[in-house]
Amino acid sequence: MNQHQSGQEDVYRQSVGAVPLADLPVPACLLDAGGRVVAANQPWCRLLGVADGRTSLDWSSGFDDESLIALRESVVEAASSGSCPVVKLNSAGSSGHGAAFEVRIAWIPDRTAAIAVFRDCTPEHGLAAESASLRRLLDLARGQLEQVFLAATDALVLVDCETLQILEANPAAGRLYGYVPDHLRSRVFTDLTVEQAESESQPILARRDRLPVRFHRRQNGSHFPVEIFARYLVRDGREVAVLSISDVTNRSNRERVQLESELRYRAIFDAAPYPIILLDDGGAVLDANPVACQLYGYERDEILGLGIDRLFGNQSGVDAMLRARSTFIPATTHMRRDGTSFLAETTLSFTRLDDGLILLAVVRDITDERRTLERLQEAEERWRFALEGAGDGVWDWNLATQDFYHSPRWREMLGYAADDTRLSWHNLLHPEDKQQVYGNLDAYLNGESALYEAEFRLRCANGSYKWIAARGKIMSRDEQGRALRMLGTHRDITESRRMMETLRASEQRWQFALEGHGDGLWDWNLAAGRLTLSDQFREILGFGSRGLSHDVHWEGLVHPDEWPATHDAFERHLAGHAPLLSVDTRMRCADGTCKWVALRGKVMEYGRLDRPMRMIGTLRDVEEAKRREVRERNEQEKLSHASRLITLGEMASALAHELNQPLTAIRNFSALGLRRLGDHPPEGVRNTLEIIAEQSMRAGEIVRRIRSFVRKGEIRLEPVHINSVVGDMVRFSAPDARENGVQVVLELEEPLPAINGDRTGLEQLVMNLLRNGIEAMARIEGERRLTVCTAKRADGTVECSVTDLGEGLSPDVLAGLFEPFVTTKPDGVGLGLAICRTIVENHGGRLWVEPTQGRGASFHFAIPIAWKGSHG
């Protein structure tokens, strides 16, 4: 924007400065440095009403002082800063109306004067005349510029900044490119460049003042380098670039390219990851890259000029080699600055330059390589020794010579003399196995498998065959990557193979049976740390047959919370403390949830020292069962808690009743005593009796308080279906019934209306009756049947009966059956039926015993369908 503005100012200055004052079509005058009018043109004189040629000092008399001071200051500002300030001049006007002028001032250095262009901005004077005169001024300026443009010796091209279209080109440009200037017009800038790429026009789009040196093309097709300076102007509302183009062919092309290539090589040299040293033919270091400096422990300025012998050791051979122009110096000892040494190979190349021979040495530190190699050889020896110790036969195959080496142990294994070195395994191979073994070997050598593995039979000295497991690996290769040497083992697996075969047969049967049962199977190879899972296993955890196939391990499968217990179970079995692995645990499923599973397993194979090698087992989905178990346990707990609460309530209630009776009697009798005292009782007797009466009331109050405390918030009424209560309680007591060999028969009327009651209390009630029934039959001979009936009765109640076939109730027992603390059970408290009665009473119902035919007892309770008490 600034650039834009200053561009406009330049045009202004140039245009007004280039045209003689008299020819300017707008009112203008020349001001000296003091702001005095030196000369003026006709329009100016007309505007200010000054007689022609009489540019006397009095022109300013009409203006106020402030305006004149501002004018003078603006001249100074224009002279010092080169800008074109604008001042407003105001006159009071002798004729009664004021005049206002806007004066634009530009300093013209070569005339040491400022030119002031006046514009009438008095409101009465229209703008039309003003703009017309301004346009005239601009036209004139453009005409002047055009002259300059056409006459310039530099090639000038005007380019539209947006479209890159060439708007104007001067004759010099036409000459440069070999065109008639008109032909250059309406072409685009990139027609001139060699490359038509966008990058060519980028500097213009970015409004660069100087464009980088580029090759342009002449009409005849020849290329030439150009340097371009650009100025940016606004013309007719469009931004244009004035390009001044000069041919720089005369500047040394070669020089520039060389500079670039040197820079490029320098970069490579510095960035190379291997040490490079440049030497002159005298063996002195010309340069060394940072890696080389680091290798030898020198700073760069320290290494320059050093003799080669300081780095490459003191061998006299080095000089000779340099002289002989060997290109490769094998491992020699090189010296660091600190005196330490290292082994390195050096590759040399020689380049002849104008000023002599230059050597380029690439150094390769091979200390580590050597050490590794030595360690490898050592390791190989050790490994072979270890294998022999483990009872495996070792083979060593030189592929180049086709020599086979077999260890003595190998021969021993097959029953041959230990020193019979003529034997080779492929001569002993069972004919049937040949194809498979060579197939595996080829596959390995072709890189199709990571390890050579095969199982085959070898003929023993006694003519029988032994099963052998072979494993092997290439130990060295030639430069083309072909195998040179292979090393491996042979292990006698005859026995384990026989075992496996019998095992596999049974395993198949077993697997069939288990999978048919919905169990997942797993096979854990402890030695290899490999856990194999059956499809069913994966399915249980929600994985497809492809899931869970890589890197499966128990800890990853089991939920972290369960892992310690599960791990412990494994450990116990593996250590032989448990004959079977059996643990319920939670495993992660594919969908991120967890599932309860039962894990069973057993070690199937043992290795040396009875180390467990392989475990096989099952996985069963027990989620549903577990959930049911938890749910039922919760219910049971809730019930037993409620039972305890009810029992406590009943205890308090029973206690209250039992205590209240005698307390009532005490109170009444003491009151009676008071009433019978007559008019003259012995001293203190009345008082004593009154105290007895009061204290009995106090005791009663205490009992009441205890009771109300226990019962608080106990009963919650809701619609309850007695059949559902019966169903739940029969289910909960099922284990009890089974244990006592009792068959529970349900005769439930459906549907039954709901009763308004406290479900927990009703559960307790039914549970107590069921337990009593079951216990009543626990020690009897003959049929043990408990019948539970429900029915709707005509009197608007729901009746439920529990009938057993036990010994029945004697008349004695019957009399106090529902009283608290009365029991027929050896370990009973005697609250069960008392509780039942309380619960039934709380529901506004009735509990009774009905006589039965033959043996047994029949307990009944009836509870109103819509019990009045629930509304009160």
Binding site: N660, Q661, L663, R667, A671, E819
Partner: protein, 207 residues
């Protein structure tokens, strides 16, 4: 005034029923104690004389609340006072809805019990008087001839002799004769008394 009222006490605890009946007797009323409800139900004579019942709620056999229902069905209208060692809210509500006079938690202030017993006996005596009065009116009504009954209905309905004569198709004289007979048979001193007796009887019938 309470010489007719017999108070029946039922409680399975001997000491309680004994003390309660002895207390009640200090009022100068007769009290009879029973160990269970069945014994009382069998003692029909006492039940007929009974002016107030004091019942324990929880007892072996028939509970106090059940007894309340039985008595209602036997049309024994003596007020009942319950005494209970562990009355809870539903139990009290049930008892009071069944028409009990009170429900006392054991041990209780004996004065309250005695006040209640007296109240019960008064109620019961009033009922008895009303019953007797009603029975008298009923007995007298029974002595009227059918024609006299017709005339009585018209009189009670407030009609004048002339209207009655026209309606029943008899002479004014006959109506007057019937009227005199009715007054005599019903022991009514005035027409107003006659109408009151009959309407009171009818009202209590509809109650």
């Amino acid at each position: 005034m309470a010489e007719h009222g017999l108070v029946c006490v039922v409680d399975d605890d001997e000491m309680v029923r004994m003390s309660v009946s002895m207390l009640i007797e200090t009022l100068g009323v007769r009290a009879r104690a029973y160990a269970n409800c069945l014994d009382l139900l069998e003692d029909e004579a006492s039940l007929a004389l009974c002016g107030c019942l004091v019942l324990d709620v929880r007892m072996p056999g028939i509970s106090g609340l059940e007894m309340q229902e039985r008595l209602e069905s036997l049309r024994v209208d003596a007020p009942i006072i319950f005494i209970s060692g562990h009355g809870d809210v539903p139990m009290v509500v049930r008892a009071m809805r069944g028409g009990a006079l009170d429900f006392l938690q054991k041990p209780f202030n004996e004065q309250i019990l005695l006040d209640r017993v007296q109240q019960a006996l008064e109620i019961s005596a009033r009922r008895r008087r009303e019953r007797i009065k009603r029975a008298t009116v009923e007995a007298r009504l029974a002595t009227l001839t059918p024609r006299e009954t017709d005339v009585l209905e018209e009189i009670v309905a407030g009609r004048q002799n002339k209207v009655i004569a026209d309606k029943l198709g008899i002479s004014m004289k006959t109506v007057e004769q019937h009227r005199a007979r009715i007054m005599e048979k019903m022991h009514a001193a005035s027409l107003a008394e006659l109408v009151r007796h009959v309407t009171e009887l009818r009202r209590s019938d509809t109650l």
